[in-house]
Structure formats: C-alpha cells, structure tokens
Symmetry: C2
Subunit: 450 residues, 2 copies
C-alpha cells in the first residue's frame, strides 16, 4: 500500500467530489420541502470525519499520535483557500461546527478525568501546584523580556500583557496525545493534568490582575483589587466546592438516578454531571473543559456500579467512547483549519514570533523543575505543558480589544506573532511528547503500548 501520497490524494479527491455538491447545496436549496441548516452540516461532518480518519491513519503509520494528523489535515483543508479553493472555508466560519467542536473537547476532558482518580491526583498535588506556578512565572518574565527586546519603544504594560499571554496552558492537545499513546495512567500525565487545571485558575488571575492594572493606568484610577480577588475567589471556590463537596454528593446523586426507569440513564446522568460542571466552570470564568475534567475526576466507578448493573453496562468509558470518537476530531480538525498560513509569510514578524515561541517552550521547560517525586521525568512534564492553543489566542484577542493611550494594547503585528507562537507550540507538542513518553515507556515495565 503506497501511503506517502495518501494526504495529497485525499485532499484532491475531497475537493473534486465535494466542490460541486457544496455549491449545489448552498445555491440550489428550496426546490423540495425539507431545506434546513442541518443539510449542509451533514456534509461538513462527512468531510471532517473522513479527513480526520485519513489524517490519523497517515500519522499512525508514521508512529505519531492521530491528533497530529487531524491538526495537519485541518491546516491543509483550511488553507486551500490560499490556492483559490474556498470549498473548505466552512471549517473556519461555521458557528455550528465551532460549538460542536467545543462540545467535543469537553467530552475529551471528561473522559480523561474519568481515567484519573482524585487520590491519584492528590498524590502528585504538590508537584502539580509547583509546576503550575513555575509554569506561569517563567513564561511571564521570558515573554516580558522578548517583548522589551523587540519593541523597546512600547509601554511597559504591553510587555507585561504579552508575558501574560505566554502563561496559559491549553491541555486539550496534551490530553489527547496521552490518550492516543495510552499514557494517561502515568504520574507524569497526572502532574500535567493537575497543573493545567491550576494553570487555568492562575491564568484567570493574571488576566484579571494585568487587565485591572491596565484599565487603572488608562483611566488614571487605582487598581480595583476587589475585582481581582473576586475572580480568584469564584474560580477557586468552584474547584474547592466541586472537589470537596461535589464528590460527597455523588453516591446520593446516583441513588436518585438509579430509580429512573428510562433507558440510557447511566450515560445521561454522567453527561448531565459533565455538562453541568462544564457550564458552571464557564459561569465562574474558567474554561468549560476544566469543569468537565473535574466532573470526570470526582466520578468513580463505585458511584455508578448499581446503575451500570441495572442496565447491564460494563463501563461508562465504553458508553462514552462512541461520542468521543465522533465529537473530538471535530475539535482538532477545525482547530487546524483555523491556522492562517498567511501569517507565516509576514517575514518582518518571524524573528519576533520565533523568539516568542522559544520563550514559550523554555518557560514551560523550567516548570518541569517543580516535579518533586524522584524518578519522574521532568522533561516529559515540561513538554506536556507547552501547548498554548486557544487559551493564548483568547488572551491575545482580549488584549487587541483593550486600548492604552489611544492604541490597541496588542497591535496587529504582535497578534500575528502570538498566532504563530500558538500554532508552533501546538504542532511541536505531539511529536515531542510521543518521543519522550516512548523513551520512558522503554524503561518502565507497567506501560502498555497501544
């Protein structure tokens, strides 16, 4: 089987087959009685699912995690518009797909949380906390330094804000790579996941604090310490209440649910928990995936064993797998498609972007020093913390909308450099983690290779 040209053949094939159909669907509706927005979405899902499996297939043959293939094929399809082929621009623009993709990553983190127990997590809690704190401090000052070097004329607050955008960790990619590699059970994986959750809280605080300082500077008032403390209080409160109290409520919740005579109650009651906590996390300002992860974390098999026995299910993971299979690739393919390769052609940015990327990577390598347990691999932990993903972009776009002395805090060039940094940190992570965990796997006995 010749696999080298698979991606090329796939892309050409998809374009040739689909271009006329999408044109027909977009223009030719209304002849029948059933025109509806779902019709185009059906086609889009077909494209995404096929593309994801083909991209994943190529990467598996190259002994890389599937998610890298999903990202790369997304980048290819999303950027075909540069060659005058707009067939796949829905991957960037469709609001519906964007929401489905977010549901996908919520399900992914819930599944990852289910594979992790709270006691396991507590065991590495100190390390996770130190990794998270170092992982905020180191990139912050490195980013500040890079910014002052490349634009010494800018206000100091610009450097501070750019430092802040480097602090975020986007755990989706790492979680997926560890899942693809069957390495979720390692202590390194648990430290990464725990640190990423804490990092989201710290990132919120940094954003609130820096934003407060900038707003105060702009308006000439004092910093609103109460507002910053409020953000901290709400997000920490959420985590403490969920992990502390929520866990105690699980047996009662499932005792109520087991009384329901309807079908599929095990899956529904778990997803209600997942979606409910993801929603609450969003309400307090955390990422919904943090809520979904904690939902998985506090949910243990013994909570729902009666429910599973009643409905003759072996495990919740088995019920979730089909949902994850379908929804998660939507997230990674559209994430890839949103990469704008045009940004990489702005030569004047490349030095700045490269330095920012190196600062981002080194900053998270330093955080590996927070690992306290002897024998654990600090490099693996540091690599897992590298991706900035959408969190860095959200920081940057908030910065672009803030004004300082009549100019946007993050100007278009800086924003472009941040985009390049986000793309590079996202793409280097899967091969790096794969390399490092494979190396570890070769020296430890308990790891199974999938």
């Amino acid at each position: 089987m010749g696999n080298r040209g698979s991606i090329v053949r796939l892309v050409c094939g998809l374009v040739c087959i689909l271009a006329p159909f999408t044109a027909w669907a977009a223009g030719g509706q209304g002849a029948g009685g059933h025109a509806s927005p779902v019709i185009l979405l059906l086609l889009e899902l077909v494209v995404i699912l096929l593309a994801a499996k083909l991209g994943g297939d190529v990467m598996v043959r190259m002994r890389q995690p599937e998610v890298l293939g999903e990202l790369l094929i997304g980048i290819v399809l999303g950027n075909l518009i540069l060659l005058g082929i707009p067939t796949f621009s829905f991957l960037r623009q469709d609001e519906m797909l964007a929401v489905l993709s977010e549901l996908g990553v919520v399900l992914l983190l819930f599944e990852v949380g289910l594979h992790t127990t709270l006691p396991d997590m507590m065991k590495v809690g100190v390390s996770a906390l130190l990794v998270a704190i170092l992982g905020v401090i180191a990139p912050f000052f490195l980013g500040w330094g890079v910014s002052s070097f490349f634009s010494p004329e800018s206000d100091r607050l610009v450097h501070v804000y750019l430092g802040a955008t480097l602090t975020a960790t986007s755990v989706g990619i790492t979680a997926r790579v560890l899942t693809d590699l069957h390495r979720l059970h390692t202590s390194e994986a648990k430290i990464i996941l725990g640190a990423a959750v804490i990092d989201d809280v710290l990132g919120l605080m940094v954003l609130a604090a820096v934003g407060g300082v900038i707003a105060a500077a702009e308006m000439g008032t004092a910093v609103n310490v109460g507002a910053v403390a409020g953000v901290l209080g709400r997000s920490l409160g959420f985590l403490i209440i969920v992990v502390g109290v929520g866990r105690l409520l699980m047996p009662g919740y499932f005792r109520l649910m087991v009384r329901l005579h309807s079908q599929g109650v095990l899956l529904v009651s778990s997803l209600v928990l997942c979606f409910g906590l993801a929603y609450l996390a969003g309400v307090v300002g955390l990422a919904p995936i943090v809520g979904a992860f904690t939902a998985g974390l506090i949910l243990e098999p013994h909570h729902y064993q009666d429910l599973a026995a009643k409905h003759q299910h072996t495990s919740l993971e088995e019920l979730l797998a089909p949902l994850v299979t379908i929804m998660v690739p939507i997230f990674f393919v559209t994430m890839g498609a949103r990469v704008t390769l045009e940004d990489f052609t702005r030569v004047e940015l490349l030095g700045f972007a490269a330095s920012l990327t190196i600062a981002a990577i080194i900053g998270k390598q330093i955080c590996g020093l927070g690992v306290r347990e002897p024998g654990l691999d600090r490099i693996a932990v540091g690599l897992g913390m590298i991706p900035r993903g959408e969190v860095g972009l959200i920081f940057a776009s908030i910065g672009a909308s803030m004004m300082l002395h009549g100019k946007p805090l993050i100007d278009s060039a800086t924003y472009g450099a941040v985009v390049i940094m986000v793309v590079l940190t996202t793409l280097v992570t899967p091969p790096l983690i794969t390399w490092r965990f494979r190396k570890l796997g070769a020296t430890t006995a308990h790891v199974t290779d999938g």
Copy 2:
C-alpha cells in the same frame, strides 16, 4: 415511591434551580476569559437530558413508550412562558438545538434502518407501496372535503392545498415508539417504514404538483409539467440509485475503510454513510431522515464484519446506542416544546381543527387496506401512519407564504388548525400504537417484550 407528582416536582425544581443561572449566564458573561456560545448550550443540554429521562420514567411506569414522556415534558416546559416563566423558551428558539435535534432524528432513522434488511423490506414492498398510495389519496380528498365544508367561500385551490398538507407522514414518532416497544422486527413495522419512505416521495410530488398548479393559476400560465417531473425524477432517482447501486458498493467501501489504521473507523465509516446519504436526500428535496433510513437499510452486518473484528467491536448497533441515547431526546423534547398551547384556546378554530384531525386519522386508517399479506394487522399499520409531525407543518408554512389573488393561500386561522391537527396526530399515536402492538404481541409468539 410517589410518582404521580414527579413531573410537577421536576418542573418546579428545574425552574427554581435554573432560572437564576440562565439569567446569570445570559447577562453576566465576559468576566472571565472563556465566554463562548457553548456555555449556554451546555446548560440547555443538561435541562433537556434530565427532562427527557424524567418524562420517560413517568411514562415507563404507566406502561407507555418513553417518547410520549419526552413530548409531554417538552410541551410543559415550552409553554411555561404562558405562566410568565420564560426560562425554557430556548427550547423553541435556539437554532443550535434545532440542528442538534435534526441530527438526532437522522441518527434514529439510521438505527431503525439498520434493524431492517432490504430483502425483508422487499417482501412487504407491494403492501408498502399500496399503503403509501392509499395514504396519500384518502387524506387528500378528506382534507379537501373538510376545507370546503368549513370555508365554502374559499377558492378551490385552497381546499386542494389543505388536502395536500394531510398527505404527509412523519415517521420519526412511529419509528421511536416501535423502538421503545421492541417491535421493529414485525412485518407491520416494516410496512409502515417502507410506506413512510414512499410517502415522502409522493408528498414531494403532490407539493410540487399543487404548488405548480397554484403558481400557474396565479400567473395565468400553463402548469410547468417539467418541473413536477423533475422533482419526481430526482427523488425516485436517489432512492433507486442508493438501493440498487449503493448496496453493491458497500463491500468495496468497507474494504477501503478496513485499511485505515485510525481508531473508531467502524463507527465513523457508518456515520459517513448515514450523514452522506441524509445530505444527498436533502439535496434532492427529500427529508434527510429518508436518506439516513436508506443508509441503514443497505448496510448489513456482513459488510463490516472484517472492520468490526479488527477493532474488536461486537456490533455497530452497540456503538450507535450512546449517540442515539443522547441525541434523540433532543429532537422529541424540542418538538414538544414547539407546541404552542395558545392555539388550542382559539375556540373558533376548534371545530375546524377537530374535523381536520379526524380526517387525518381516518385517511390513514383507510390506507391500512393496502396491506396484502394475510394475518397482518391493518389497524396497526394505519395507526403507525397517523403522525403528521413537522412534515405537515412544513407544507402548511409553505402554503402560508404562497399568494393567491393577493391573499396568503393558507391564512392564519387555517394554519392554526393545521398546527392543532399536527399536535393531536403526534400525541395520539404513541398510546394507540402501544395498545395495538401489545394486543398483537399477546397473540403472536415471536415477539419479545422489553
């Protein structure tokens, strides 16, 4: 366990708990860095899933199919706005939920199609065809008669159009009830499903023909026979090509898919088929669910046995079940929520609406006479064809947008009566089918009670 008040307690509880949160989410976003449209959707899914399981639970205790509970709780929640509680109006308005619910019914019909084989279907093909044809002719003339009786002053074309709106069959409800009752394998079920597919083709033709006649009358031109023939050609062509040629392509399709090394290929390749044919059905003007059903119909276990063996899956149905569990209730709860109880208070309409409903029910009972096989239950088949669902509403709203002599073809009063007819035919079907199939089940040996 006191179950009588469950629905009431549930509704009150949901309102009290959720009202402050939805207000918070709608107004209070933007404090954190993660505001996104997915956050509200998460809450909406929590509400829908909980409501569906609680509604289903009450119905199971009353020995009724769960789907009736989902519809009823949807009606309750959607109409709480009449009591000044707008908390649940998202069930009617959220475009995203509407699309998810359509994906849900697509998955349902795919699953139903998987339970049916093409040879089984062919065995009852003549009956299905006769049932479908009678099921169009009888309601058409009955509807025409009711319309001329209640508004003798209207143009004859109005009567013709109203007759046409009674011809449609919405198979989603019946398919779901038969699934809930574990009766999909009966010959009666197969006749109903086959007739519903043919009915969708006939309904398209009737709509095109009547629409063409009205447009010609309005513009004073001749009827465009070519356009009507085109609708027929495209939709019949789709079915013939899919069932005739598509089936032959299945082994090759799965031979290609089995070469992919990515995970979840069995589920993905089946859903690609389902979504792809649902999309193509939509493009030719048929309902997407007709495409999804035919996808399930042509797909047989021996096509994908190599793929299932490779990935250690026992059956495709098992992989689909979690998706169906989560997605299908969204369809029925939102369908219930879209019922506007205000329409039932327009006393002047009730006589017209009641007559229309009776015509709709009797018309589909007559079609039971098309069943040729001795020993089969004609009443069960006729009952299964009763629901008009969204198809009748689509016909009526197209009529409302057509002008005849400067007035809308379907005026607001007639539209209200059609809405009432659709609601009543939808709600009477689950208990009637349950009653009839239970009665049949008691006299035949091969039926298992779930």
